[in-house]
């Protein structure tokens, strides 16, 4: 009984206070919503202990049990431990432990960022250039009305982003300006894309309001089990 009641009460109390605080400009309520976002950040930072701990335990187990491919797990464990130590001790920071930022140029932590973290993240991100190509090859096929619209619009926008767009329809007389690709691309982006996104956003906002309400009144609580 208590196992469920107290969490439900905490959620309901905190949620409603934060909703009401929006309408109270008087201190301390004016800062409450900002304060609680910071509280969230703090708890999330504490939770790193759970996350990092789980990562180390998982890969550590693989290493200690000599599971297949445990060498890779060893790489993760070493990389994690090394960066954690040099980051928490600010090793190699030019102005020492107390007076410099952890990301100061020249620190070992910064080196790990520059030569491991950043190239990996940037390259992973850059893989998207390849994936947009393969996805458009596969998905943009005129299979039915919806897919054909998707194809046609993507084509106009893609072409419109290059010089080809202006060239393709440059022969049209000025009276047919509204059929040129640059014009169509502009209208698709500024009118239709805009309208569609707005409808999506309105829908999402309502979904979020309803879901938040369900969380506050305690009927959406899957982490506590339903029923």
């Amino acid at each position: 009984m208590m196992r469920r009641t107290i969490p439900l009460f905490i959620t309901a109390f905190v949620g409603s206070i934060l909703v009401i605080a929006y309408f109270i400009p008087h201190p301390p309520f004016d800062q409450l919503r900002e304060d609680f976002s910071i509280f969230f950040d703090i708890i999330a930072a504490v939770a790193f202990i759970l996350g990092g701990g789980n990562l180390i335990r998982m890969h550590g187990n693989r290493v200690s049990r000599r599971e297949k491919g445990y060498g890779y797990s060893l790489v993760t464990v070493i990389g994690f431990a090394l960066v954690l130590v040099i980051g928490l001790t600010k090793m190699g920071n030019p102005d020492g432990f107390r007076n410099s930022s952890v990301t100061a140029a020249g620190s070992y932590f910064d080196l790990a960022y520059q030569y491991v973290f950043r190239p990996c993240a940037a390259t992973m991100f850059a893989l998207l250039a390849f994936y947009v190509a393969s996805a458009s090859f596969r998905a943009f096929r005129a299979k039915n009305v919806e897919a054909s619209i998707l194809l046609l619009v993507a084509f106009i926008i893609l072409v419109g982003r290059t010089f080809v767009g202006a060239w393709l329809t440059a022969w049209l007389p000025p009276s047919l300006d509204f059929l040129t690709i640059p014009y169509l691309a502009d209208k698709i982006m500024t009118v239709l894309n805009f309208a569609g996104n707005r409808a999506i956003m309105i829908g999402i906002a309502l979904g979020i309001v309803s879901t938040s309400l369900k969380v506050i009144i305690g009927i959406d609580r899957s982490y506590l089990g339903s029923g």
Partner: protein, 265 residues
């Protein structure tokens, strides 16, 4: 056979690189820390790109290293940029100043500092998961987090996204701009009226697609079908428009390899 070709190719590449380094045409990996760093970064870049061909040991190495390093990176950042200034700094400013952040020394303690005992308490409750017993107390922390999220997002989305977007749609579709100076003539544009009307109809039809509690049949069904088309236009346009930015990222990596590492640009 295939294997021999691969190894041969690899050997050739290593040879060319070695010759270039020997000839002073590119940075040596053993010259200094930066030199080694650039080589290692180039290696990781190629390792990740190799995933496009297939999963392989080199990608797997890069992946595991990246996971370990980045997890620790964000953990360290969480410690220095959140826990120290926002928790320790609020609760014990002088102590924090002495040990970690001299910059805090001049600041007086926040009059509402005790509020920060709340996240401290819930943070500790969360960690009770690590204890063999009493793990259910961590649910209190989850309850606190969910309450915070719901309370903050409910209002934020209601005002900015629901009201804000509806309000922004409230525009004239008359295609008419009244004169700005007294006595001047207004301007009517058929083109503008047309597109403004299109926009409003598009928004309404797309919204009707999201209407769940009415069967999408008859006239309403046709209207919501129009809404699906609007959504398809939106997605096609969104996709097409993003391609350029993604290619720019790839160009950035190619430039890194060609210029910073190989020094051929």
């Amino acid at each position: 056979m295939k294997r021999i070709v691969w190894w041969g190719l690899l050997g050739l590449v290593v040879l060319v690189l070695a010759l270039r380094v020997a000839g002073g045409e590119m940075r040596s990996p053993f010259a200094d820390l930066q030199g080694f760093g650039v080589w290692f970064a180039a290696f990781l870049t190629l390792a990740i790109v190799s995933f496009l061909y297939n999963d392989n040991p080199i990608y797997r190495f890069a992946e595991h290293l990246f996971v370990g390093v980045s997890a620790a990176y964000w953990m360290v950042m969480g410690f220095w940029s959140t826990l120290v200034p926002n928790l320790l700094g609020k609760l014990w400013p002088s102590l924090t100043a002495r040990w970690f952040m001299p910059g805090l020394a001049e600041q007086a303690r926040d009059p509402l500092w005790f509020l920060y005992l709340i996240p401290l308490a819930f943070g500790i409750l969360l960690l009770t998961r690590l204890l063999p017993k009493g793990g259910h107390l961590s649910r209190w922390a989850l309850a606190f987090i969910l309450g915070t999220t719901a309370g903050l997002r409910l209002i934020a989305y209601l005002t900015a996204d629901f009201m804000g977007q509806v309000q922004a749609t409230l525009v004239s579709v008359a295609g008419y701009t009244p004169a700005l100076t007294p006595g001047g003539a207004g301007v009517f544009s058929f083109e503008r009226m047309f597109w403004d009307l299109v926009a409003v109809v598009a928004i309404l039809s797309a919204l009707s697609y999201f209407y769940f509690s009415k069967a999408h049949t008859g006239a309403f069904g046709r209207f919501s079908r129009l809404g699906i088309w609007v959504l398809m236009v939106t997605f096609g346009a969104g996709f097409g428009y993003t391609v350029m930015g993604r290619v720019a990222l790839l160009v950035g990596r190619v430039e890194f390899l060609l210029a910073d590492w190989l020094s051929v640009l």
